[in-house]
Symmetry: C2
């Protein structure tokens, strides 16, 4: 069972190996949103997303025998790079199963970081089945992207940092907005902030992929109709996980669902006002804060920018958006 003490143990394991990302802000963004906005830029994390935290947390907790046998993972791209980088640091071989439509930059980075990449078709193949077939004797430890206690605990370290940093800024009360796929990041942060009732955690999803928002309403795991076809590739998962859903259901405030096009506008403003690079899925919490103020109660918002692995073409498209 994931818990605050697991997150604290993960924080001790990752200390000195992950970056403690700052909280960024700009008066120009506050003006657009009509309230103070702080951005936690996990795009600045090693491997370009928060996934490095969970990957390091999980792999650093393996025995020497397990490390020698290697790890295996499936991922749309950010968990892939996080696992590849953390595995390489632990002298541990890694096989990563990735969808064939993952952004090229994520695939080539994963390979360049030393992992073996195996592609599958997101619409016709089941990634867990492909992964199992590649590890028939189960020798390799599966590092699941969100249904893994050590991974959830690693992502939760972001919540511990938010608690400290918001206190330093004198923030007692804020909506913490999180880009949400399978819920590993959201559930970890929600657990880490359980003792901070002023900080309410909201998953943010694109329209058409709002499984978590609907699950929070119905009280049971809901499933998305589609599994591809969004620019928010990082957060397209069929449904919340077995481990993450009970945490989300117990601790999260309502989900926020917005059009994916808003992510491009948020990317452009993050470029201009914070000088950071965010990918579409990683920009959705900031997009909600900037362009959907009516969907957010209270005053201050803390938006996690979960990743920045985006190709030049998509980023250029976002910047064109800005000038229009």
């Amino acid at each position: 069972m994931s818990s605050l003490s697991e997150i604290q143990a993960a924080a001790a394991r990752i200390a000195g190996h992950t970056r403690k990302t700052p909280l960024l802000s700009s008066p120009f963004l506050d003006q657009i949103a009509g309230r103070p906005i702080f951005v936690k830029p996990e795009c600045l994390q090693h491997s370009g997303s928060f996934k490095f935290r969970g990957a390091w947390s999980a792999i650093s907790n393996l025995s020497m025998d397990q490390r020698r046998a290697g790890v295996i993972a499936f991922s749309s791209g950010n968990h892939a790079q996080g696992v590849a980088m953390a595995a390489a640091h632990h002298n541990c071989s890694a096989i990563i199963v990735m969808p064939s439509d993952a952004p090229e930059i994520k695939r080539t980075n994963t390979q360049a970081l030393g992992a073996e990449v195996v592609l599958y078709d997101r619409e016709t193949e089941d990634r867990e089945a492909v992964t199992a077939a590649l590890n028939p004797d189960g020798a390799r430890t599966l590092i699941a992207p969100f249904n893994n206690h050590d991974v959830i605990a690693g992502q939760g370290t972001i919540g511990l940092e938010i608690a400290v940093q918001s206190a330093e800024l004198g923030i007692d009360s804020a909506s913490v907005l999180i880009p949400c796929g399978g819920g590993g990041l959201t559930s970890g942060v929600a657990l880490a902030l359980e003792q901070h009732p002023g900080l309410t955690v909201h998953p943010v999803e694109p329209e058409g992929f709002d499984d978590v928002a609907r699950s929070l309403v119905s009280g049971k795991p809901e499933i998305n109709q589609r599994l591809s076809g969004s620019i928010c590739d990082a957060i397209l998962t069929p449904s919340p996980g077995e481990l993450t859903f009970p945490i989300l259901n117990r601790l999260c405030s309502e989900g926020i669902v917005i059009p994916e096009e808003d992510c491009l506008r948020a990317m452009a403003l993050a470029f201009e006002r914070l000088r950071i690079v965010i990918e579409p899925g990683g920009a959705i919490a900031l997009a909600a804060a900037l362009f959907h103020p009516d969907k957010i109660a209270g005053d201050t918002v803390i938006a996690v920018a979960s990743g920045g692995n985006v190709g030049a073409e998509m980023f250029t498209q976002a910047l064109k958006n800005m000038k229009a």
Copy 2:
């Protein structure tokens, strides 16, 4: 006379008001450079460049009467925004004299931050004369961009942070590369690192605007032939300052001079590998580290990325460069 104790006093004044920027790195950049590279991303600083440190240091050291009378400054754009933002926080009015060819984003930002902007022609008018004419009775305090002890001390706080952060990383010895215009940042950092002989400070300039490199060779302030016509708008100054040159001459190692086009390639790699936005002039130290390894002695490099105020058009041009 600028000194380490002035920098320490400035550090106390700016504490809690400026961001302590991290040291970023990527195995991909290390591979290109053939050595470990760390980047100090001052593009993440308030107002998008290191200039906010010096501006806050200077304005926070004014008396209440001086603040009431307001400040005046001349700047190609980054000092402008830093002064505008720091002045607004101190309820202090600001007039900023800017060249008519400054990037539009820098001019509009300066105005949006509450300063009055007056334009001049970089080739035909003298900015100090224009500034003096706007302040005939001398009531407003001039916040010079680099010839000001409090400004130099504020920029020097970056050196204090580099000393602490490099020690945390176990770095005893490194070349510290700094984008250099009038030398305020370079001289401040050199002073801050004077007691750290393993950390050698090198100004970096674009070809055709290498006044500081030539001054370090000749031992007297040299002057640039041209004052405009480079994409590195942030670091085009006629010559090192009266206050900065003696410090540069006493403490800096040799200057590094590279083609300005390399800045666009460095911007593209910083986008892809560090997920930060750097402007051309701010990228020149990183460009030297990445593409001119033969001009650097020793092993580790720490490159300051001094600013990130760049428009979408120029940034898109840099990204096109990447794909070529």
